[in-house]
């Protein structure tokens, strides 16, 4: 698919477009010498954005320079990640890495122009969140068994929304469809917010969302939670069964981390990791994470990098097996 056609070659005006970062890495001791851009490759208002902002403010305070969140959504979170991969590794541009951009997209998209491991310095795991299947309270199924029955019996099958093609929620929909023996009609949106709007409005009866972004809507009763995808029931929602309890052998958690471009100076990485872990350990932050269903991370840069490696290895085959195509 990506083999060059003559047309492409003619248009690729090679020399001029071969861009490279101009800036040389700043000296680590002066870091941070200016506000830090934290690129969030998702639309504002969603889980990732929320987590980024919860961490960015105290991080800015501890570092003495504001950490400015910059939303760069699009293409399964690869756009914003690509931007950071190509940024100078001076510690002033960071990215909110996630399962979407650093574990699924590399296997899913042929056109991902970065390597999730070698083009980044992985600093810290911020949060692990289970997914949740939610339904419109009136039009949607009442529980997972009802969902399975309606899906198998209906001639058209059921529609299920997600925050976007290539998200972990999308893969969950694909896997669920395989377990049901009939493909669910996946409806991708541009972010969890618009997708949730469509479910609340009854345009789409079902959605697979990450628990933090759906939590408030579940509590308000504007959507009904059918099942969560964690190992066990989430403490914040003890009444909601896990998928496994409901008879579907499916356990997934999405994760979010803090990463920078490759070759971040070691002192910068260490300082960042230290500050972030201290912030994640604060009781008020733990409370906020628990409130919306996330679990704060505790990994240091080395173990987080290994974690990303294992996630890449885990999701690659799932994506290929699932036959999920970004369409």
């Amino acid at each position: 698919m990506s083999k060059p056609t003559p047309r492409r070659a003619a248009l690729s005006l090679a020399p001029v477009l071969a861009l490279a970062g101009l800036a040389t890495p700043a000296l680590a001791q002066s870091w941070p010498s200016q506000p830090i851009r934290l690129v969030v490759p998702f639309a504002p208002g969603g889980t990732t954005d929320l987590i980024a902002r919860l961490v960015a403010t105290p991080l800015g305070e501890s570092l003495g320079q504001p950490v400015v969140v910059e939303n760069r959504p699009g293409a399964g979170a690869t756009l914003g990640s690509l931007l950071v991969a190509h940024s100078p590794p001076d510690g002033h541009v960071l990215v909110l890495s996630s399962i979407a951009s650093h574990a699924i997209a590399p296997a899913l998209y042929s056109g991902v122009r970065y390597d999730a491991l070698t083009d980044f310095t992985h600093v810290a795991l911020l949060s692990l969140n289970p997914s949740v299947i939610v339904a419109h309270p009136r039009l949607g199924p009442t529980d997972m068994a009802d969902l399975a029955r309606r899906h198998r019996e209906g001639a058209r099958g059921l529609d299920m929304a997600s925050s976007g093609a290539g998200s972990s929620n999308h893969l969950l929909i694909v896997r669920l469809g395989q377990l049901l023996g009939k493909e669910l009609n996946h409806i991708p949106f541009r972010g969890a917010g618009p997708a949730m709007t469509a479910v609340i409005g009854g345009q789409v009866p079902l959605m697979s969302d990450s628990l933090p972004s759906a939590a408030a809507h579940i509590r308000q009763g504007s959507v009904r939670a059918l099942a969560t995808s964690g190992e066990m029931r989430h403490p914040a929602f003890p009444e909601v069964p896990t998928l496994r309890e409901a008879g579907f052998d499916l356990v997934t958690s999405s994760w979010f981390g803090l990463s920078g471009p490759a070759r971040l100076p070691a002192p910068v990485t260490e300082r960042l990791s230290r500050e972030v872990l201290a912030i994640l350990a604060r009781p008020e932050l733990q409370a906020r994470f628990a409130e919306f269903g996330g679990t704060p991370g505790t990994l240091d840069p080395v173990s987080f990098t290994q974690f990303v490696e294992s996630e890449l290895a885990r999701w690659g085959p799932v994506v290929r097996e699932s036959g999920a195509k970004p369409d």
Partner: protein, 500 residues
């Protein structure tokens, strides 16, 4: 009703505290400033200012951010009227009649109309938000993907009415705009389309670069080529205030614009940006001054400005009642609230009455402030036009260049602006109009998204656009409007053909 008054009284008691009042003023001032400066929009400003709000109380923070948001709406119309520089989508429409009015020496009247119309619309819409927010949200929620697609198609058809000349050429420009909107990464598959491997294009072309180039810079070039035309600008500034006749003509337009804007503002995603075009079309077809459109009709400023501001206020409804942001600015507001530990949604009215009613009261107070800030400044703005053009144009050029650069801190955007300046100049020589192109550019990507989603939901059955009542109605109106516009055009050319 009594309850509403009680609640509003409570809201005013919150909003009128010295601290909240001063932050509302600060927000309105910042908003006006960024509205006037080309390139820097409310989204960028609010995301920069978000960290500052964390230290404040939630109510104060939101009041300030809201002030920035509608302050930018006011400020944007100033440059549109004075310099033909639309800072955002809604002020594209204001350039059409507003800039013509300024060239006729009626800049003061145009600016006053914009300010008064916006104030009136803002006040009405605020009451609407307070009285019937939850009910209106339900209407907004009943819009599905097919309905949105048809609404936007209607918007594009309406956009063609903006054209002064040939309708077919205007539709052509809309389509070019839609095509330009395709540049970038396909959201659903992540594939790069028409980017030629240029990383800057993977986010798509910038609205500011296209708008600045085709409107602002191209206008400078054309003005320099016609020294005689631009002298009108400084010879006669005219009375600052509205004449009695102008006031009488503008009033019904403001009323119509307010109604339309309030209705469209509720729809998440694109509703608000359609409001101004819709109002312009309505005025062009219905108002007393419709024969003057294209030469500086005051109705063409009053209606769209009112609609635009009403929509800006009612777009808070989905946010406040459901916790669903209707545009990028609102999404940032959700972020600001969540950081403060407040989940916007149906329960916010009970859980956070100070915030809810304080914000509503401050919306109105903010509008009063904007009026107070803007009316005395009209004299100053109009004086700006008395600066000889040879000193004015380098200033515009410099402000545009810095503004465009500062959006992404990338000189690529400056070169894009040059390209679109040349394109805009060519279009003007060929009598092709830039306004429909910009609208196509903004609505195109949203249309594609809704189209693809609607077809996924309908399993590839096109009939869905006719089955859903809202969608079918929109398509019906669009077809009717198109027929209405095309018929005289065809008749004319047929006559011409026969005569030849």
């Amino acid at each position: 009703m009594e309850l509403l008054i009680d609640n509003l009284a409570h809201g005013f008691s919150v909003a009128l505290s010295l601290k909240n009042l001063s932050f509302a003023l600060l927000g309105a001032l910042i908003g006006t400033a960024i509205g006037v400066l080309p390139g820097i929009g409310p989204v960028a400003t609010i995301s920069l200012l978000l960290p500052i709000t964390f230290g404040q109380e939630a109510t104060t923070a939101i009041i300030m951010l809201a002030g920035i948001y509608y302050g930018a709406q006011y400020g944007g119309s100033t440059t549109a009227i004075l310099l033909n520089l639309p800072g955002e989508v809604s002020s594209v429409v204001t350039t059409l009649e507003g800039y013509k009015m300024a060239r006729n020496g009626r800049a003061g009247a145009a600016l006053a109309t914009a300010a008064l119309g916006s104030f009136f619309a803002g006040s009405v819409a605020t009451i609407l938000v307070a009285a019937s927010g939850p009910l209106l949200t339900q209407i907004a929620l009943s819009f599905g993907p097919a309905d949105y697609f048809s609404l936007m198609l209607l918007g594009l058809v309406i956009a063609c009415v903006l054209a002064q000349g040939s309708i077919l050429k205007a539709i052509g420009m809309v389509v070019v705009g839609v095509a330009l909107g395709l540049v970038g990464t396909d959201v659903q598959t992540g594939q790069q389309r028409f980017t030629f491997g240029i990383p800057e294009l993977s986010d798509g072309l910038g609205f500011a670069a296209i708008a600045m180039g085709m409107f602002g810079i191209a206008e400078i070039i054309l003005n320099l080529e016609r020294p005689e035309a631009r002298e009108v600008l400084k010879t006669e500034v005219g009375k600052l205030w509205l004449t009695k006749d102008e006031f009488k003509r503008a009033t019904p337009s403001v009323l119509r614009g307010t109604l339309l804007g309030s209705a469209l503002g509720i729809l998440p995603g694109g509703g608000a940006s359609l409001a101004a075009f819709g109002a312009y079309m309505m005025e062009r077809k219905m108002s007393r001054g419709r024969h003057m459109f294209g030469q500086g009709a005051i109705e063409g400023v009053a209606g769209p400005e009112a609609a635009n501001n009403a929509a800006a206020q009612t777009s808070f409804i989905p946010l406040l009642t459901l916790g669903i942001p209707s545009n990028a600015v609102m999404a940032l507001m959700v972020g600001a609230l969540i950081i403060q530990g407040i989940q916007p949604g149906p329960r916010m009215v009970e859980a956070q009455p100070d915030l809810f009613w304080g914000l509503i009261a401050s919306m109105w107070i903010g509008n009063v402030m904007l009026l107070v800030i803007n009316l005395p400044m009209i004299g100053m703005w109009v004086k700006l036009l008395q600066v000889p053009y040879k000193y004015l144009y380098p200033a515009i050029l410099v402000f545009c260049s810095i503004g465009v650069y500062s959006i992404n801190n990338n000189v690529f955007d400056v070169y894009t602006t040059i390209l679109f300046a040349v394109f805009g100049y060519m279009c003007s020589k060929l009598k092709m109009e830039p306004a429909p192109l910009l609208i196509g550019f903004v609505l195109g990507p949203m249309m594609e998204e809704h189209l693809r989603r609607a077809m996924l939901l309908s399993r590839g059955d096109w009939i869905v656009f006719l089955e859903r009542p809202i969608s079918a109605t929109m398509l019906g109106i669009a077809a009717f409007a198109l027929a209405l516009m095309l018929l005289p055009n065809m008749r004319k050319s047929k006559d011409a053909a026969m005569a030849g």
